[in-house]
């Protein structure tokens, strides 16, 4: 009878954020659904009550069904039979449970059968599912593909696909190919218009496709013959019931073994164009990827939660030298830092999800009516913040998932290396999180503009201007000093970069992570102002920030422009 929502005060805290009122009002458009649908909220309080209840249902399904199945799913894994994916039996049970609980189409409009919940709730549910079984989060979380359809597809397409997703259809995003990984502009899968059949036909191969045999797939394909770059790519939606696609094999992976990673062959598979031709990668996949990155942020935080709990539990049970090992400072320090990073990553996750939500809601409203001047300003403002914060949360959360999983095994000692405890699975599952949906290195590329063009610094200034409790004042003072040092680091890097063009790339990660540390510490200090218990997280995280920034600063200050040559040396070797 475990419940991953009611046992997690931190999650409950984030659900009650003051911005939720604005988000719900935007999302509900003046509660106009209230007499049209028997499950629509009457007002803000009613909506919040429903969120809490549904999050609790989700927490129950995660605790009672998905988590107990995780070990079996990891062991059994999916397989391919007659060109189709057969899920592990535990995965099938999980799917039935989430369908029975009605957890599909969480954010989609009610007219298609969705719950019309804020993104924050979806992120939260994702996080809980990932804590229970990261591999199942991949399958369930892909329902987010429908949001991209909701934004760009025709009303007719929405009525068909969104309704189906709300009824439990699973999704996939078919982007990667053997020669197009991080560089998606190189995608070669062909889509040709058939006059005879009056449909687009897909031909080619996709690789590393998560849940590739899902019911609804968004496929990035080359519609413009003769092109070789991103401008010849469009997005199409493929309905598995129409045939033409086979699963050739599934990968044998290190982790998230329950999630089928497929190689797909399309032979004259009929598909529908989504939105405009040539905008596939430039517009739609970018939107899809941003959403997916937030999804991986949620998955990573869920894994952090699982790793921290496993480690904490073991440290209380295991005795050495006549006492529980948690009594040793070496262990309790590790756990303190794990908790600070867990709560820090979560703070960043929900902050980001609120920015993304407000921006997305204005986008949707702008399709219904023209926005007022002030609304347009706000939309731009939150768009900028979303673009900057999304890669930041993906970067931090996925790296933390790895470090927490690593520490969880360390605390288990030799036992952690054995297959007897869940921490070894968490360690394997975490390893993909800072790789897929854009490696950490690519998140840095996406976030560095936010550092040099001022988005992050402006936001930090906003955090600085908030009210803090007396207990948090010293932390805020230290953060101001840290911010000034980071500004100096940025100036130095920008200065040297003028002469040595790769110098900024060389230090980009150090700059992004320095800024990220300051932001997370501010978020925790703000939380500690509202709820005193967060004080120790804020204090512990400040120390991590100070240590990190001191290291980054020393590295940057000791690097000259000529060092670009030093890091290029390996290019000539081998």
């Amino acid at each position: 009878m475990a419940n991953f929502f009611s046992d997690n005060k931190d999650l409950q805290y984030h659900l009650e954020h003051p911005l939720m009122r604005k988000i719900v009002e935007l999302k509900e458009r003046g509660f106009s659904d209230k007499d049209k649908y028997d499950y629509a909220p009457q007002n803000f309080e009613d909506a919040m009550d429903s969120f809490r209840r549904v999050m609790e249902i989700t927490g129950g399904v995660c605790g009672d069904v998905i988590a107990p199945n995780a070990e079996g799913v990891d062991h059994e894994g999916p397989r391919v039979e007659n060109d189709r994916v057969i899920y592990a039996s535990g995965t099938v049970e999980n799917m039935k449970a989430v369908n029975d609980a009605g957890l599909n189409g969480l954010t989609l409009p009610r007219r298609f059968g969705g719950l019309n919940f804020p993104l924050t709730c979806f992120v939260m549910a994702n996080e809980m599912v990932a804590r229970a079984d990261a591999s199942f989060e991949n399958i369930w979380g892909l329902q987010d593909c429908a949001e991209t359809l909701n934004e760009f597809a025709t009303e007719e397409q929405k009525a068909k696909y969104l309704k189906w997703v709300c009824e439990g259809a699973t999704c996939a995003m078919d982007l990667t190919e053997p020669d197009a990984g991080s560089d998606l502009g190189a995608v070669m899968l062909k889509a040709t218009w058939s006059e005879e059949k009056q449909t687009w036909l897909l031909n080619g191969v996709k690789r590393f496709i998560t849940n590739g045999d899902g019911d609804v797939s968004l496929v990035l394909a080359r519609t413009e013959e003769g092109t070789t770059d991103a401008r010849g790519l469009s997005m199409l939606v493929y309905d598995k019931r129409n045939g033409g696609m086979k699963v050739r094999r599934i990968e044998n992976k290190l982790g998230i073994k329950g999630s089928p990673t497929c190689e797909l062959v399309f032979i004259d598979a009929p598909a529908e164009l989504v939105g405009d031709r040539r905008m596939g990668l430039i517009k739609y996949v970018m939107s899809l990827m941003n959403a997916a990155r937030l999804g991986i942020g949620a998955q990573s935080v869920g894994l952090c939660e699982a790793a921290y709990r496993e480690a904490l539990k073991y440290a209380h049970e295991r005795q050495q030298f006549g006492k529980d090992i948690i009594k040793f400072p070496a262990i309790s320090e590790m756990l303190t830092n794990m908790r600070a990073r867990l709560h820090g990553a979560r703070a960043l996750l929900y902050e980001t999800s609120r920015f993304v939500e407000i921006y997305k809601q204005y986008t949707h409203i702008s399709h219904e009516r023209s926005l007022e001047g002030e609304e347009r300003q706000e939309m731009k403002f939150y768009n900028r913040l979303s673009d900057a914060f999304t890669p930041l949360v993906k970067l931090f959360a996925s790296e933390y998932a790895n470090s927490l999983a690593y520490d969880a095994i360390q605390i288990h000692g030799g036992s952690g290396f054995m297959k007897d405890y869940p921490c070894e699975r968490l360690y394997r599952d975490a390893r993909i999180m800072n790789i897929y949906e854009g490696t950490s290195q690519l998140q840095v590329v996406a976030a560095i503009n936010g550092v040099t063009k001022g988005t992050f610094m402006e936001q930090i200034a906003r955090y600085e201007s908030l009210e803090y409790s007396p207990a948090m004042q010293p932390i805020v003072e230290k953060l101001k000093a840290l911010r000034e040092r980071v500004v100096a680091m940025i100036q130095r890097v920008e200065g040297i970069n003028k002469e040595f063009p790769q110098y900024k790339d060389f230090h980009a990660r150090r700059l992004v992570e320095s800024v990220g540390h300051i932001i997370i510490t501010y978020l925790l200090a703000h939380q500690a102002t509202e709820v005193e218990e967060y004080g120790s997280d804020a204090k512990a995280f400040l120390k991590l920030s100070e240590a990190y920034i001191a290291g980054a600063e020393a590295y940057i200050n000791s690097s000259e422009g000529e060092d670009v040559a030093l890091i290029s040396e390996v290019q000539e070797q081998f």
Binding site: D38, I57, D100, A101, G102, L115, E317
Partner: protein, 292 residues
């Protein structure tokens, strides 16, 4: 195929005796109800699931909960509605207080005569009494056939059900005409989770006395506007019954004495009830993989 069945699930709210902590018993050796949360009796949830599957099998069927208890027992009716039941009846009256299984089954059978049902489904037994008597007694009082220890309905025919029973030495498949009473084992399918859309639809469902207590609230307004939010409340006066057979008056069962059983062991390890000793024991049991 059947045109749709009227299915009534007999359910009861019980103290949660499964997660027993050190405060579960009072010093006098009785159940400490304050320390144990009130829950949906576990086997009644299996019964609900069986009923819901039967409903899915026969289009046009309905599932209603019938429970006897104080006002707060309306909680389990709402819980069942969140999982797919159409509504429920709360049988509540001071006159029912102190009922043993005989008086309970009498009151339930009188209510059932009034409600009417094609299939009456109940959990095998409740975890607070473990008698497994109420279901069979209801069948006797109504003069209906009964199938006990049911695990699954294998087939629904025009006017009968084919049911698999789980017995001590194996399984048995039986066919019963309808109407019938079916009592369900814990080995039957587990209940489905609450459904998000149904929770939002039914969360304001109330019995009239709850509506009265919440007069002026949004919930009360919603109940007034939407009929599906009205949970029926039935009192002794609403059913045709002999008051002598209700509650304490109608209950021949008398508790004579309650004893704590003390186990004897040769090589005993002495642990007292202090938190420290209990924790030590837990650590030992987990380390030896006896627990967890």
């Amino acid at each position: 195929m059947n045109k749709g069945l009227k299915i009534v699930v007999l359910a009861t709210q019980v103290p949660d005796t499964r997660n027993v902590g050190k405060d579960a018993m009072t010093a006098e050796g009785t159940v400490n109800r304050a320390a144990l949360p009130a829950i949906f009796n576990p086997e009644d949830l299996n019964a609900l699931e069986l009923a819901l599957r039967l409903k899915e099998e026969c289009a046009g069927s309905t599932v209603h909960i019938l429970t006897m208890g104080p006002q707060r027992a309306a909680d389990i009716i709402r819980d069942a509605m969140y999982r797919g039941a159409d509504g429920g009846y709360l049988l509540t009256d001071r006159k029912f207080a102190g009922s043993d299984t005989l008086a309970t089954s009498y009151a339930l059978s009188c209510a059932l005569r009034k409600i009417g049902a094609d299939v009456i489904v109940a959990g095998r037994q409740a975890i607070d009494g473990d008698t497994a008597q109420v279901g069979p007694q209801v069948a006797e009082k109504l003069g209906l056939p009964q199938v006990t220890y049911a695990e699954e309905v294998l087939q629904v025919k025009e006017s009968s059900l084919v049911i698999r029973r789980r017995l001590e030495r194996g399984v048995e498949v039986v066919e019963t005409p309808m109407p019938a009473v079916v009592t369900v084992n814990a080995s039957a399918a587990e209940v489905r989770p609450q459904n998000a859309r149904l929770v939002m639809k039914y969360k304001y469902a109330m019995i009239p006395s709850e509506v009265a207590a919440n007069a002026g609230s949004l919930a009360a307004k919603m109940v007034a506007e939407r009929d599906y939010l009205k949970i029926a409340e039935i009192t002794a006066a609403d059913i045709e019954c002999d008051e002598q057979q209700l509650g304490l008056l109608g209950s021949p069962t008398k508790v004579k004495k309650i004893e704590n059983v003390v186990f004897q062991a040769k090589e005993a390890k002495c642990l007292n009830s202090s938190d420290e000793h209990i924790n030590e024991l837990m650590v030992e049991l987990i380390a030896s993989h006896t627990l967890g």
